[in-house]
């Protein structure tokens, strides 16, 4: 057996987060042993020590993620292109995977910062948190560069398993347990469906790598088509597209909010990127049929997501349905399937990250006294007490709704343009129509915040880490609202061009 040349530098992002996960895991053990030596440590001291350890761990994991992001951005700048695998490519490192890696890294980094004060506030400051988060991030790095069904499955499981545990991280809260169990059971079924689809695809085409499948697919055939449908269903579960969305509201609501933010942005990014790569590489010929299938999923997601969000009383639940709706918007780009549409999808994912982390950060900033303040009434009169928080919340919601002057509008705009160019008029009409509906529930919160009296009087303050996240997200939303295609500071980087380069992985 010939030893293959192994380009370690190319795997640097993956290596950094994986090593980071192991280091944080060990660090927690070592530090808590030192802090809790001897019997009779009173609970108060223990709590303080835990909070300190949590900060150290957050710094360690931030460092790992920042290094990974730096490596990914560097690779992107270089225009890195490399494939790995024994005999045939398993992982493909190119503009798309490095772009997605950096994006997922950013989502993970912001989630880590969200957790610093949130975990102690909910008294769930256990050390495994950061290690699990990093492991899941590593899984997503595998996922976004997967060009083979085997590595796709490996990445998907490495992504999902830590998140199942994270969703139930608030062990004493029944809802959190329910979320974890539900997510795990449904995720396991989705995995099984995905595997079944993979088996059928392999049976029909004789290949597990995406390009091989595309060659074997030429004849079409029922077996290959059913395999394809099952694989799409399995991936659609992860990105919560109707009709595979049922887990979303329960899990988003039950999971600790920092975990919700993490999975809302990163899993969605990873899932859509791998779906994009799979569709483009494995099915270059299948245009019409697949785009109808994806179009139906998109339409259903937009309709059901937006309509169900209207009747929710819990903000996290409402945001879960809004996540379903946004998955639907993104699927419109998939149904269009042109290079412009892929660019728009990637730009949308980029903008979506800031909006989503932002809103969940506001929910986190309200949490105190060991519980979340996440029902709509809890937001009543927030503007009079914490005006800045209410203002940024309004900005994030307007951006999610897609009001001009926010980045959310630009993201939707590019998506609509690409879809119209591709002739997906019906889907665009649904998109615009359901966006109108979405104004109702997005604007309900500002109404409650600005026009009602404060009922509860929590004395919580926005912590400095939360202020950093909120400021970053708000700044990004305002910046990309006006400069998505421009470069006012002469950095030579235009967001849309970057997304375009990432989407250009085909050619």
């Amino acid at each position: 057996m010939e030893a293959e040349a192994f380009d370690v530098a190319a795997l640097a992002p993956l290596g950094f987060v994986a090593i980071g996960a192991l280091v944080t895991l060990m660090l927690e053990v070592v530090l808590s042993r030192r802090a809790f030596v001897g019997e009779g440590v009173d609970p108060e001291t223990r709590l303080v020590a835990r909070a300190r350890i949590g900060i150290v761990l957050a710094f360690a994991s931030s460092a790992a993620i920042v290094l990974a992001m730096y490596a990914a951005i560097y690779q992107f700048e270089l225009g890195f292109e490399t494939a790995f695998g024994p005999g045939r490519p398993m992982l493909q490192l190119d503009a798309l995977s490095t772009f997605a890696t950096a994006l997922i890294g950013l989502g993970a980094l912001l989630s880590v910062w969200l957790s610093i004060t949130y975990l102690p506030a909910l008294r769930i400051n256990h050390g495994e948190y950061y290690a699990l988060l990093l492991l899941s991030t590593a899984g997503m790095f595998v996922l976004v560069s997967a060009v083979d069904l085997i590595s796709l499955y490996l990445g998907l499981e490495l992504t999902s398993l830590p998140i199942y545990a994270l969703a139930g991280f608030n062990r004493r809260r029944l809802r959190s347990n329910e979320a974890a169990l539900k997510y795990f059971l449904m995720g396991a079924v989705a995995s099984a469906v995905l595997l079944y689809g993979m088996a059928l695809l392999y049976g029909a085409t004789g290949h597990t790598d995406f390009t091989g499948i595309s060659q074997g697919f030429a004849g079409g055939g029922g077996l290959a088509l059913s395999g394809l449908a099952l694989v799409i269903a399995g991936l659609a579960f992860k990105v919560s597209v109707v009709p595979f969305h049922q887990w979303t509201p329960d899990v988003y609501e039950g999971a600790p909010t920092s975990v919700t933010a993490f999975m809302a942005v990163t899993v969605k990014t990873a899932g859509f990127v791998v779906l994009m790569r799979f569709l483009v590489l494995a099915l270059p010929e299948m245009g019409e049929k697949v785009s109808v299938l994806l179009g139906v999923l998109a339409g259903l997601s937009m309709l059901i997501g937006n309509l169900m969000a209207v009747v929710q009383d819990n903000v996290k639940r409402m945001l879960a349905y809004s996540a379903v709706a946004h998955a639907g918007y993104l699927m419109v780009g998939f149904a269009a399937g042109t290079p412009e549409a892929w660019t728009a999808v990637l730009f949308y994912l980029f903008v979506y990250l800031f909006m989503t982390v932002g809103v969940f950060c506001v929910v986190i900033a309200l949490a105190q006294g060991g519980r979340e303040w996440d029902s709509i009434e809890d937001f009543a009169g927030l503007a009079s007490q914490r005006p800045a928080l209410a203002a940024v919340m309004t900005l994030f919601l307007l951006s999610l709704a897609g009001i001009p002057g926010t980045a959310g509008f630009m993201a939707k705009f590019y998506l609509v343009v690409a879809a119209v160019d591709a002739g997906q008029i019906a889907l665009v009409l649904i998109l615009v129509g359901t966006s109108m509906v979405s104004f109702f529930y997005y604007l309900r919160l500002p109404v409650v915040m600005y026009m009602q009296k404060r009922r509860q009087d929590p004395d919580a303050e926005t912590s400095s880490s939360e202020i950093v996240v909120l400021a970053l997200c708000a700044a990004a939303i305002l910046y990309f609202a006006f400069f998505a295609q421009a470069d006012p500071f002469g950095t030579g980087v235009r967001a849309l061009d970057v997304a375009g380069r990432a989407a250009d992985f085909l050619h």
Binding site: A3, M26, V29
Partner: protein, 117 residues
């Protein structure tokens, strides 16, 4: 190509039909006379003294789960051991990289007290 599997399918069909058929024959033709003694739970002629549904200590599951990790590890170690001379240094490096997370996991569970009974 699929016709090769026809035999298997037939076999499967016959097996299912036979099993279900015999069960059904028993249900419909067998005499049923039930009385208290017959319906009572039976355990080697003794009256059962405790409920058969008992809780097990969670430690059993923990040990089982921890075992699985090292079980899988062994599965990967065997082929490496069998091809040690061929894979040489790269093989050794790879298996070392593979072992590190496992060792970290072991140290972690040890210091967390998961191995204390």
């Amino acid at each position: 190509m699929l016709s090769e599997y026809l035999g298997v399918l037939l076999m499967l069909g016959i097996a299912v039909a036979l099993t279900v058929g015999m069960l059904l024959v028993h249900v419909y033709l067998g005499p049923k006379r039930s009385f208290d003694k017959k319906l009572a739970p039976f355990e080697c002629g003794e009256e059962p003294i405790v409920s058969p549904r008992q809780r097990h200590a969670v430690k059993f599951y923990l040990v089982a789960i921890l075992f699985v990790v090292f079980d899988v590890e062994a599965v990967f170690f065997y082929p490496w051991g069998a091809t040690f001379l061929e894979t040489g240094l790269p093989g050794l490096t790879t298996i070392a990289i593979f072992s590190v997370p496992l060792v970290v996991g072991l140290v972690y569970e040890w210091s967390k007290g998961a191995l204390e009974w």
